[in-house]
Amino acid sequence: MPVKVMFAQLASCWGCHQSLLDLHETLIDVLPQLEIVFWHTVADYKLHDVEKLPDGSVDVGFTEGFCRNEEDLHLLKLTRQKCKLLVSYGTCSTYGSIPSLLNLYSIDEALSRKFKEAESVVDGRIPDKYVPKMLEYVKPNREYVKYDLFLPGCPPEPPLIAEAITSLLRGEMPKLKERTLCDECPRIKSEVIVLKKVKRDFEGIPEPEKCLLEQGYICMGPATREGCGAVCPSAGFPCKGCMGPGPNVMDQGAKMLSALASLVDYESVSPEELVKTVKDVIGTFSRFTLPSSIIPKSVFKKK
């Protein structure tokens, strides 16, 4: 019996979809086991087709993306209503991910920048006909509906997806790995780390095998959940935290900020210098999780 699935794309970049496609030949085993009832990228079913389905009649629903406008919110609630099991697929859906950094600004400022002030715009106006209203700021989807499973990653790496899907098809709940990224990172780390200098990502040339944080690059490994296979540090680039907070962490940004502050050598790096190097604290430490942070948005710019 094929499993009835629906896939709701809210405000997203489709990268979670691309990552699913990156299962490549594994898809050949998976596809025939699915009966798609809604998936707007793949099949021509329309919203009214979903509205007509009996509640709870779909076995598994996936949501990619967050709610940027009222249409997204409607689809999210509809999906919850129609599905027995709801999976939050990817970091947008789970924590907000990068595009919800817009929470640092008001929606009006943003609309005005894009549609009125942008250098190439010739006849500025804010679109308001047949387009859904924007929500003031991004809230994590879980504040709107209840989920049964979270599968973070921006996007989740294909092996993680494969594991989750095979469990789900067997009728089992997938179990996510629980440690921090450093635990699965192949880079060599010392017992004690003391940073004489904090570097920006373009500075110098990273040594090929040593822990990047130890070399002074801001690697989010200590505050991030494992599960991606530490792909970024393996490719010479510090982790930016896309898997979201590691175990027992409430606020990934605050946690990493704290970790970095305790690793710097206080004789070599003054507080002022640290601030000057990091500069963009939220963009550096809370890049993927601002809406699910303790303080999820900027407060003062709003009237």
Partner: protein
């Protein structure tokens, strides 16, 4: 709106990349009054890039599009390099080029097989339950296996160069954080052998599809527009630091060939009240006269020749059949195949270059500075323009982005209107010659 008018809303528009609804206004006689292509989503990257460290922008903007994050990564990166006056080592430039070709391969394969082919193979009137990738798979498993293999080749190239197959991370101002090892290179060369075969197969499928649908392709939704795309001295390219931007008018005359930094003189954004995606057009011609298209069809229209031999042959075949410029919207799929061939050939050429495995892929002496940088590359779906203004510490003060698909929004709306008129008023779908579906 008079009482006799009727509004048809198609919600959501399916099997395309992006979120959109289509609103069609019909008059009492069943004629099409107007059609609005309503893109319902924008995440406004332009705003929240303000205040970010410029070197992080290449990590941030790939999230504009997860289907083609590589062009965003590279374009974002090179806009920062342009603002800071940084020149990466030549091996790094070759790696970026290779990654761009990898993306052309996988994205074109995806678009052809998963987004477009179901209509052609199952026929446009098949039930939605079969007219999709899974339907194609159940009926033509071999073709889908080949499509998957071709996507795997492209995505593997992206992953080896960019560190991840979606949202690459290795590009930093001044170079790349990862070199390509010799083993990886050898493995990729083997994949290219595979890709060559798969591409030949795809060309055959495409030829058959095109023969069968030639009537539809040349009659449905044909709209003359301007075309825009990168070129180097008339030659096709998706990534070249010295490329210029060519614009062709609807008659086929080249009306501009400008350096990247002058983009603002030539491209304007019109804001339609019904769309969160802006309408980009050729500024000197004004709106809507100057509406242009970008992407595969535009690129093969504007260039004089392809870069590689087999692609050049395909371009000739294309032109013999549909002319230059070709205004047939459905010919995009064919143009895509011409480009797919070039990407495979180009990837081989890059992989056979000994410098591709060089360890000299990053400069150590990059300094942020105050500046204004523009970069332009070709994403699979069209010309991508990035412009950053940075302060002396390398923080982004302002960002202006023109993303690939926006170049086509106005033209998509126009061709939909034409097609809707053809369907609602002339009942063209009853008159067009359609081939037997490949499966039902």
């Amino acid at each position: 709106m008079s009482k006799k008018e009727k509004v048809v809303v198609i919600e959501p528009a399916t099997r395309l990349e992006g979120h959109a609804n289509i609103v069609i206004k019909l008059n009492e006689k069943g004629g099409v009054e107007d059609l609005n292509f309503c893109v319902t989503l924008t995440r406004m990257f332009e705003k929240f890039l303000e205040g970010r460290l410029a070197e992080q922008a290449p990590q941030i903007t790939p999230r504009i599009c997860g289907i083609c994050p590589e062009p965003h990564h590279v374009c974002s990166l090179e806009a920062v390099e342009a603002a800071w006056g940084v020149e990466p080592p030549s091996a790094a430039v070759k790696l970026r080029d290779l990654m761009m070709q990898g993306k052309q391969i996988s994205s074109h394969a995806l678009h052809f097989y998963a987004l477009a082919a179901p209509d052609f193979l199952a026929g446009p009137f098949a039930d939605p339950s079969v007219r999709n990738l899974v339907g194609v798979f159940k009926n033509m498993p071999d073709a889908v296996k080949k499509a998957i293999a071709l996507m795997r080749v492209g995505q593997t190239i992206c992953r080896y160069v960019g560190g991840r197959s979606v949202h690459p991370v290795t590009g930093v101002p001044g170079g790349m954080t990862k070199r390509l090892s010799e083993e990886e290179r050898d493995e990729l060369l083997k994949l290219i052998d595979e890709a060559e075969e798969l591409t030949d197969f795809t060309v055959d499928v495409a030829r058959k599809v095109i023969e069968g649908y030639l009537d539809v392709i040349t009659k449905l939704g044909v709209v003359p527009t301007y075309y825009v795309g990168l070129n180097v001295g008339g030659m096709h390219t998706v990534y070249d630091r010295n490329a210029t931007v060519r614009v062709m008018d609807p008659e086929g005359k080249i009306v501009a060939d400008f350096p990247k930094k002058d983009y603002i003189k030539y491209s304007g954004e019109h804001i339609a009240p019904h769309s969160y995606a802006t309408h980009i057009f050729f500024k000197p011609a004004g709106y809507p006269e100057g509406v242009w298209r970008a992407g595969p069809l535009a690129r093969v229209n504007i260039v004089d020749k392809m870069e590689t031999p087999k692609a050049q042959e395909l371009l000739k075949e294309f032109r013999d059949a549909v002319g230059r410029p070709c205004h047939a919207t459905l010919a995009y799929n064919w143009a895509r195949i011409v480009e797919l061939m070039e990407a495979v050939e180009k990837a081989r050429k890059l992989l056979e270059d000994p410098e591709i495995v060089s360890a000299d892929v990053k400069r150590a002496d990059v300094r942020p500075k105050e500046g204004n940088g523009v970069a332009i590359v070709e994403a699979p779906r069209g010309t991508l323009i990035y412009n950053y203004w940075t302060d002396d510490e390398g923080v982004i003060k302002k960002a202006n982005l023109i993303v690939a698909t926006n170049n086509n929004i106005a033209a998509v709306e126009k061709s939909m209107l034409v097609a809707a008129k053809q369907v609602f008023e002339e009942k063209i779908h009853e008159k067009l010659k359609l081939p037997e579906p490949w499966f039902k």
